[in-house]
Subunit: 358 residues, 2 copies
């Protein structure tokens, strides 16, 4: 199995100091109230965002301790690969100071390359960029996107605009140059300068915020298709991470029907949107929907999207509280989909070597 | 058949002058650039928001001409009842001046009661309120909500907050006193002072805005459930209008799963959210999803929500461009659902008399 959403983290942004541009070290050491912190969530899971058993013995941050991550995830489930997606660092998208945001992303990427990827041959990395300055992000992609172990670029769902906007095109240009997919990981909505998380502003509770997270993914997906990003960058692959999947039939039906009726508004969109999505976009399974009744009702929804078995990527979301245990995901997937979703779709997308037969 | 979303309109807000509080007549006559207009959409359907054939012979606004509405809708489809939902007036929610907004809503309601409902025994009305001042809205509900022909209160999806917020409780208190459901009609998002229409701000194109409209309905629905509105007002019924239905399985699965895991955060929510929604919320069918493949894929999605056949209300959305012709809706509904969805659910909700057998 290839796990496409694994959150490794630093204990504190201070840990990035050795890799941070010296011009910004004073921010991290002395900034704010006795040290810089990235924008944090005003909605809190009442018992914590992380699995209780994922706190390292030294009291550090879940995901910061490689031996524990290896034990609880890589070894426990005999994973072939784990795609690291970062955690707190994704919130650089919410930082108004674009140079600081970019410098923090770069420091994180250097730390990822030097401190994490060499630890285990099963680990692969996502290059974090701060999308508010896409030219800066593109430079980072060209500088470090080709390093061994980097398999995609990643940005947060929380953003200033839908990711179809032309302001983000430099990111896609650089990513396609390097043959890297671009992942959008839900989260960061409403933080710092990012847009409020819903069409009705700021929800009151974490349960609302978390339930509505897929709506951010919907907005970005519709934006990418309608602004013609995939016509402009035909090699681009996009990955929607941590938004679940059961909302796809209704969204794609609606988008297709509207495109048929309204295509004069966006003549650069040449194909049926669902075909474009099928070719260009992949979705990680977690948080994989749990039907209230029989599993067949979930399968019926999955079957409503043509070719979905080629579009899904298995993910656990370790060490988040709503971790999808692999045995549970396997039970919720139609048997015929196992090979594609559990490993082969990711292997193809990320060009991961096949296992050596011994 | 009972059509639960029919848009009648005035030609111009000037038409409401005889019913408008004199204190605000100068706004309408002299305000702005030579006369007041309600906030209008920056996203435009390239060939117009309305069915081309719905423009009256005098060149007026679609939905403003009763004989044409009767001919094209009431008589053409032999409707038993049509629930009028207004049109431009729903944008009072976006007007920063709350007294002006309330006065316009009141003038519209008086016009509806005097000029529209007496025209045809098949017409029923929705009382428009300006939710930004809920106490004012509650006074309007108590003043006119009991008049003959009024069957519900209506507000726009575009709003300042999710409709679960305590600021809106006076509306629910007054509506339940009068035994009226409260309808939220998608639209108005991002207009005037309302919140941007998506979690990524303002989409570029009408096709995006329209495709993503159900996300507003999702936000309000989640807000209502999580803030405990239906525990506080156990008699309240809510109607989600013009948001389609195929997104319900994924949203309710996610909300139920999150409630199970997170209920300590909202201890006032006593029941499984999907049960609360099944008891308290109804959804109009239009724009009824059109599956790309076989109709069975739509039915499979509908079947994934327990009891959905009791929750749907047939609607055409006349005279909007995406009008759902009744014969098309009938074909897209499972046969066993016809009676409930086409008429009986609405008859029960709105307490409409059964036809007299002759």
């Amino acid at each position: 199995m290839i796990d496409c959403d694994v959150h490794q983290n630093f204990d504190h942004v201070r840990d990035l100091l050795p890799w941070l541009d010296p011009a910004f070290r004073d921010y991290v050491v002395h900034g704010g109230y006795g040290g810089y912190s990235l924008p944090n969530y005003p909605w809190l899971h009442p018992s914590g965002f992380m699995r209780g058993d994922s706190v390292p013995a030294d009291g550090g941050v879940p995901g910061s301790d490689y031996p524990l991550l290896r034990e609880q995830l890589l070894d426990a489930y005999d994973l072939e690969y784990a795609i690291l997606t970062g955690e707190e660092i994704l919130s650089v998208s919410a930082v108004p100071h674009p140079q600081l945001a970019g410098a923090l992303a770069t420091a994180y990427n250097r730390w990822l390359l030097e401190e994490w990827l060499p630890k285990d041959p099963r680990l692969r990395g996502s290059l974090v960029v701060a999308p508010q300055d896409a030219e800066q992000a593109a430079r980072e992609i060209r500088e470090r996107g080709g390093r061994d172990g980097i398999v995609q670029v990643i940005v947060s769902g929380g953003a200033l605009e839908g990711y179809g906007h032309a302001r983000y095109h430099p990111i896609y240009e650089a990513a396609t140059e390097l043959g890297l997919p671009v992942a959008v990981h839900v989260g960061g909505e409403g933080l710092g300068m990012n847009r409020p998380p819903t069409a009705t502003g700021y929800p009151a509770y974490y349960v609302e915020w978390h339930t509505l997270l897929p709506t951010t993914a919907m907005s970005h997906l519709v934006s990418l298709v309608c602004q013609g990003v995939f016509e402009r960058f035909p090699e681009l692959r996009f990955v929607v991470v941590e938004a679940g999947v059961a909302w796809l039939p209704s969204l794609l039906w609606r988008l297709d029907a509207n495109w048929r009726a309204l295509r004069v508004e966006t003549p650069w969109v040449k194909r049926l949107p669902s075909e474009t999505v099928r070719e260009h976009v992949r979705f990680t399974t977690q948080p994989f929907e749990q039907p209230g009744g029989s599993i067949e009702s979930l399968w019926a929804v999955l079957d409503a999207v043509e070719g979905l078995e080629q579009m899904l990527l298995f993910a656990t979301d370790y060490p988040h509280w709503d971790f999808d245990a692999p045995d549970q995901v396997v039970k919720r997937l139609p048997r015929a989909w196992h090979e594609a979703v559990l490993s082969e779709n990711a292997r193809g997308l990320y060009r991961l070597p096949a296992p050596v037969l011994t």
